[in-house]
Subunit: 218 residues, 2 copies
């Protein structure tokens, strides 16, 4: 059995290693807001359980078993977020906190039913891929909007750093997944972009914003 606390460590490890590759105790500690000595002792425990590879003073890595368990928790998280948005009418900025709790529910059928009712979605409301029943993720390579050039027409496919504040900001600009965006110009001094999309012929987006928007070329 994997406890709720252990599940949160596995999930954090999985997410961090996809973002930054190797994960050290310090980073895990910051991510989880748990002090380093606690993280160290949890790594020893997870290592006993064959969920991570851990050696003193070295970065931590998930084992295959650990990856699978983490993937399954993230699957539950993302299916939940999708269900909350698609079937219960929540906004994409409201669902993370709830999913953070629901992901720990132990019931195969509960998430199976969500999956069915949603028609087996491949991504969550933020465009993040939903792991399959083996915890495996199919990665799709997107580009950051910030890396596109003037004249490009792209489709908004995912957002990163999905804080509630950032998502609310995107709401105010009517920026949603699936939207076609045309890059009209790029300011060289601050890398901000002027773009058009939907019913908005001219919107200015800061470089910070553009770095958080993932797009596909169309």
């Amino acid at each position: 059995m994997i406890s709720l606390a252990e599940e949160n460590y596995l999930k954090a490890l999985f997410n961090l290693s996809n973002e930054i590759g190797e994960v050290n105790v310090n980073e895990l500690s910051k991510e989880l807001k748990i002090k380093m000595p606690t993280v160290t002792s949890m790594m020893k425990k997870l290592s006993e359980k064959k969920l991570v590879y851990y050696e003193s003073y070295k970065p931590v890595k998930l084992t295959e078993k650990g990856k699978k368990e983490a993937g399954l928790i993230i699957r539950k998280h993302r299916l939940t977020e999708m269900f909350l948005v698609e079937k219960m009418g929540f906004g994409w900025e409201e669902v993370h906190e709830i999913a953070e709790q629901v992901e720990h529910i132990q019931s195969f059928n509960f998430f199976e039913k969500m999956d069915e009712l949603l028609g087996f979605p491949q991504v969550d409301p933020h465009g993040s891929p939903i792991p399959d029943k083996n915890g495996k993720i199919t990665w799709v390579e997107y580009n950051k909007l910030s890396e596109c050039k003037t004249g490009d027409i792209v489709k908004l496919s995912a957002v990163i750093h999905t804080s509630s504040d950032f998502l609310k900001f995107l709401n105010t600009r009517e920026l949603k997944l699936g939207l076609k965006i045309k890059i009209k110009s790029i300011e060289s001094f601050d890398k901000s972009m002027v773009v058009s999309y939907g019913k908005r012929p001219s919107e200015s987006l800061s470089h910070t914003v553009c770095e958080r928007l993932l797009v596909e070329h169309v």
Copy 2:
């Protein structure tokens, strides 16, 4: 803050006091499958928090605050059961275990949304009343089918002792809430009843079963 463990004690206390009136440590211990010394120490803690009245060797009682908190947890439990049945397609025999976990989710909006989507239901899939937003239950007085007499026509309104096995048994007999049942005869030697309902002109129900079916006279 009320911990998950504390929530389970409050809920058990609420349910038991509605079934049997005064609740002593021993009964609580059996209900929760937690040893008596643990229950005693938890009663001291809940007493500190003004959620129960507790004195050594006396039965335990919920305070008004305790009743409200317990009612709100039961509200979440029953809304969840209703949502699982009505919106997710689960059978009434499958929902209790899941609701037992979901009831601890901390999110006003999550349960608010369920309530709305369900159209503010008054009872759960087993006919148990759903407490209001103040944790208050409106009790409706039903009769046990076992206490009815030959010739009575009644509506099945709720079931008690909602074990999965019992509910599966009711499924095999197509017994559902809302059904009109006519009592054709009662065997004096074992108090079993011969009844008709739906497309079933003659079904025999044991006294044990009849004691667990709550009905309204029509």
